[in-house]
Symmetry: C2
């Protein structure tokens, strides 16, 4: 019994749904949720109003679907680095990759999840829950990387991967926000370096 699927989707339907989602995610990342109207999505992709409301019911549901998309996108993008955290060099490569992404988009946009959070957390409880879950998964991915490092003997046994991961993810969020305001990546680099140093403080002798 799936209450969320009032219609059977044909391949064509699924494709249209995907297309709407991708467009909406892009526009909402670029212009914010409030700055993205259903009309924008329509015009951006030659989509009729009925299509959006056929597949998503209302704007709120569309937003939640966008959250899901962005969560997967972020985790997918991070995975290549986090899954291979075998050394401090790897940690630094992860840091550099993040910095590179931000400067390549000229320091705009912030974090796909962070921006949605700031805009939605206080007024859409379900969106907040989804976003919180996304951050939890992100934190877990970092933590698993640190655990792997500990298993390899890079970190001492008394290192706490869970809180190191939480602090790192939190610092990263701040860094992305500061990048967005200041239009440079100095704060991002500084705060990530601080966290890496902190992790290094738990390095095996």
């Amino acid at each position: 019994m799936e209450a969320k699927q009032p219609h059977q989707l044909t391949p064509k339907g699924r494709a249209t749904r995907e297309r709407i989602l991708t467009l909406a995610a892009g526009l909402m990342f670029a212009n914010g949720v409030a700055g993205t109207t259903t009309e924008h999505v329509q015009r951006a992709g030659g989509i009729s109003p009925s299509q959006i409301y056929h597949y998503f019911g209302d704007k709120k549901s569309l937003i939640r679907a966008v959250i899901a998309v962005q969560t997967e996108a972020v985790l997918d993008a991070q995975q290549p680095w986090l899954s291979r955290l075998d050394s401090f060099e790897a940690l630094e490569a992860w840091r550099d990759a993040i910095i590179e992404v931000q400067s390549s988009r000229r320091c705009t946009g912030g974090c796909p999840l962070g921006s949605l959070t700031s805009e939605l957390a206080d007024h859409d409880p379900e969106a907040r829950a989804d976003l919180a879950a996304g951050f939890t998964r992100w934190q877990a991915a970092i933590r698993d990387g640190l655990i792997a490092m500990r298993k390899r003997g890079e970190l001492r046994a008394d290192a706490d991967p869970e809180s190191l991961a939480l602090a790192t993810l939190t610092a990263l969020q701040g860094g992305l926000l500061m990048t967005q305001v200041r239009h440079d990546t100095v704060a991002l680099r500084t705060v990530l370096d601080a966290m890496i140093d902190r992790i290094r403080a738990h390095a095996a002798a």
Copy 2:
């Protein structure tokens, strides 16, 4: 030659202007900029449309005035702690005060400047500049506290107050965002503890 003051303001006018600003700042903090309409401000304070447009010209200017108000509010709120950074206990007291504020508002709202940043930075260049300047002042306040600690001999001479302050402020922003999504202050405390530890690494022997 002040281009910003097309009218002379009488005391009454100044009072009305203040009242509008305070209401708008509160509503925008609670509901976001996009979620706050001029009508909301009107209804909240028995204000007529013409009053808002008489004193602010358009919504964008009102927003910029709100940014100024919030910047002063944040700096004023921080000053009591930052101006007395004479020890690590004082640093921890600052951390505790911040955490206390967030939990007292049940982890909603985030940072007054951070939320505005996320919503405005990418689409209102002047707002972004104002916010960046606000963060710079905030960073300077933290830095000055650290410099004071160094002068008192709490920190070693090789400690770099500027980047420690930047990292701390950046981490704080992340912590406030995570508090907002997760509805608890664990991330905030964890990341601030991490930064305080890092500062402690520069403590005089």
